[in-house]
Subunit: 533 residues, 2 copies
């Protein structure tokens, strides 16, 4: 290497550190600290330059990987998970980038910053600061790819929505309902190369396009400000070789995920979704996916939530590196309790990330009514799992929410918000006696939630399963919910329990009048205990 | 060791080899070859004598473990899996047992001997000789423990039944419906020791009782002659410390399973079921079970089928040493397709080894009607899984089949036999389009089976899902089954297919008249292909 170049690079690096990370820079816990460095190289900076930094606060040591960001610039990003003073030192095979030191002061998080979402109590999630997190997500595969104005409009819609998670694809999509040309591509084209027929371009898979990633990062931060987790889909099959990102070589796949993780693991609201409909990516085997899985997990120093979404065939969600199940199933919500079987098998949190879409597409997966979408969300929630929303309405502008965002046209979103409010009150639900009374669930706070589904009863006779374990003489208050009209009404009576066989009844056999409409629910709150037996 | 004793032991061993395994003894493939040896020792022959034999046919080498059988006798058992000449040599830390040689001639199996049952095609089973095996099992926890006459009666009943698998407990059971004193115990008592209150005896866990095992082995062979696989339950919770076999130390547990496997792994019709309702054995952790699992698998040179049965909580059936899922679930059969979710999650054969029992017990698990039991068998079979029967009828003699055998009193057994005949004809079933048409299944032979369950239709309009992939113009024959009355009637018409959207109909919209009873099924056989479009 030219010594003059090295000197210049080192000088630039020195300047860069000072401009980006002055001593004692204050960073909120779980926020992003960035070190900027500059250096020239005659090699390919994406593939031939290794750059890491070791951050230490005296107790913990975290090694993070830097990345090349174009124009001779390199970045190292770090998300401190503990408050206090952290110091770092860089290491690189490019001398100008190596041995750089600095420090930061990590201060407590505030406002909407609750840290990363993590698995909690086997089946649930919570933020790093122990705030509960219940995923009520939506889907927008091509959030990234349309014009700026539509992105801004989408963000405004999301801000008014009940959704706190969104599934987006990193790679562009070419598909019946989505064939717009993206603004940015993750790779640079090979200049002058002519692609094969049916191919979009000849990509240089050894050179990423930093503009693509800057755009992605800006939008992930926008989502974070709205309190929305970004469930980032790293591979998908809606390409069929046109872009060719569905059929890169193993080496290119691994280089890609390492680069993405190096750039994005310091974003606290990122979840890794290895794929959408992994089983439709016919070019990859289960062994390929395990290698991608291991590479993502090993590259991520923070342990972001990590899963892979199925088409028809489940991946091995038991794999210890997979944090939760990201399931597609169109029939797990048809009857009470059914969705819980998957939770029982995997003993991990289950998010039903595709349950079909509310809309009027001709396809059977894109034509749920708002009632059916809401019903499926309730069925998922009753067993302590979570559903994910999507919308596929045809429109004059050919913009369906689940493809390209913009506005919500369906009726389910506010009802999903109503359900979210209920779950935030009761805590996660579990079926009380799942083989016999699958529509009776208990919240972690002790309340019982009974969902009446598609029936339209005029009254309900007080009953809960004996496994509710309410002692005889327990006094219970009842609320009637209309989950479609989003109302909650207190029943002006108190019920007193008596256990008979497998059921607990009211001593006097009292009933609750109901409005004779579908989609009703009851919330039972044990008021006080009074054993009169 | 006393040299005189050693000489005497060696001499006895010499005699023993000649009496039990003369040169060129002929043994059927997958049958049992036994070497008998004798030796005296002043140590505990169950715990202090190591005895193995290496069998070789020049290509394969199999190391089997011998066991002490009382009265200074030791046995080594071997099941040859390939025909031809095998030689062996013994190894022991007791010199009299070591270095003994012999040979056998393994000849082809004949008659009902099809070899061990193994996993086939991910979800199915077949015998080692490639004969298909479809488990249609029943349950008799205390088969071993009553009197000889009742055992013989049970065997006569089984001979007339459709069942080809039986789940039995090795350890005795003490339970509401089963508190007879067993004839034999697996361990000897400590002489003169007085047990704690509520305990049956003080056992010497270092000394097994060979009479107990000889009795067990005789009965396993009796089952084998009937073509019945013995799904042997090694631990169970129906003890509560009375016998104390549910709460032995880890060392005793492992010594026990090693002894059992040494004695029984040469029985081709044995399956290992580590436990019944493992999650109710509160003294053991998941880690304990993994150690027991590994010990059984490592001790068994043949790889017998190996599972563990749950109460409410599933074990990790993904564990690579578990060959199939042995599931209890009371609600997996309530709706079409539901049982298949478990198969999809585990990607192994699924046997629903408890689906409640046909009977009139007051407990909800023991009061299925014959219709409901049969219905559940059909629901399991439609998704390519298998159910297991049991009976719990009260009677004057207090003998319920599922506890103690004797006679079958229910109505489901012959209907289960009818279903078995159907599955033997169609091959294993798979749902064709499981998220939308869960009661349409396809057999491996190409036939379509449609189960109509609890509805009582007067007619059926020809339709199969498009994913059946029958080209337009396919000619189809239809049979109507009454699964309760066990009849099959040919429909005197031919249907010609035409695909429209997600469904394939008859061109002329033809219907099939039905008898308006529940539990009907249809079998559709594509006759020939004729594309007229």
């Amino acid at each position: 290497m030219d010594p003059k170049l090295t000197f210049a690079a080192a000088w630039l690096a020195f300047i860069s550190i000072f401009s980006h990370s002055s001593a004692q820079e204050k960073i909120e816990q779980w926020s992003r600290f960035e070190v900027g460095l500059s250096a020239k190289t005659t090699q390919n900076p994406y593939t031939d330059v290794d750059l890491t930094a070791v951050f230490s606060n005296g107790k913990e040591t975290v090694t993070v990987t830097g990345f090349y960001d174009g124009d001779d610039r390199y970045k190292i990003r770090f998300m401190p998970t503990s408050t206090g003073k952290w110091e770092y030192i860089t290491r690189s095979n490019l001398p100008a980038l190596s041995g750089q030191r600095g420090e930061l002061e990590c201060v407590p998080a505030k406002g909407r910053n609750h840290g990363m979402v993590q698995v909690y109590h086997t089946y649930d999630f919570r933020y790093a600061d122990q705030t509960p997190y219940y995923p009520f997500g939506t889907t927008m595969y091509a959030f990234l790819h349309p014009d700026t104005e539509r992105e801004e409009q989408t963000l405004r819609t999301l801000a008014q929505s009940p959704f706190n998670k969104i599934r987006i694809c990193l790679f562009p999509k070419t598909y019946e309902y989505n064939n717009e040309e993206p603004r940015y591509f993750p790779y640079r084209e090979v200049e002058g190369a002519v692609p094969d027929s049916g191919r979009r371009a000849v990509w240089d898979f050894s050179r990423f396009d930093p503009d693509f990633f800057a755009h992605l990062e800006r939008r992930i931060d926008d989502l974070g400000r709205l309190g929305i987790e970004c469930d980032l889909i790293l591979f998908h099959p809606y390409d069929e070789g046109y872009f060719g990102f569905d059929r890169m070589s193993r080496d290119n796949d691994l280089r890609y995920v390492k680069y993405v993780v190096a750039r994005l693991s310091s974003f606290r609201n990122v979840w890794w979704s290895l794929a959408n409909e992994w089983d439709l990516l016919r070019q990859k085997t289960r062994e390929d996916w395990v290698e991608i899985l291991e590479t993502v997990a090993q590259s991520d120093p923070y342990g972001h939530l990590l899963s892979i979404h199925n088409g028809k065939v489940y991946f091995d969600y038991h794999h210890p590196l997979i944090t939760h199940c990201s399931i597609q199933n169109e029939s797990a919500y048809e009857e009470f309790g059914r969705a819980g079987l998957i939770k029982d098998c995997y003993r991990k949190p289950v998010v039903f990330d595709e349950i079909c879409y509310e809309g009027n597409f001709p396809n059977r997966w894109g034509s749920l009514s708002g009632q059916e979408m809401t019903y499926r969300f309730w069925q998922a929630a009753l067993v302590g799992t979570y559903a994910t929303h999507g919308e596929t309405f045809t429109s004059d502008d050919h913009i369906a929410w689940t493809e390209k965002g913009a506005v919500l046209r369906g009726e389910s979103a506010p009802r999903i918000g109503f359900l979210r409010g209920i779950i935030e009150q009761t805590g996660p639900l579990t079926i009380i006696d799942n083989w016999r009374y699958p529509n009776f669930s208990r919240g972690r706070n002790g309340q019982v939630v009974i969902y009446l589904g598609k029936e339209s009863p005029q009254e309900w006779t007080f009953m809960v399963p004996t496994r509710t374990r309410w002692a005889d003489g327990t006094r219970v208050k009842v609320q009637v919910l209309d989950t479609w009209n989003m109302t909650v009404a207190d029943v002006n009576d108190t019920f007193v329990t008596r256990s008979v066989g497998y059921e607990i009844n009211d001593r006097q056999g009292k009933t609750v009048p109901l409005p004779g409409r579908p989609y009703l629910a009851l919330i039972l709150t044990p008021e006080e205990f009074e054993n009169r037996e």
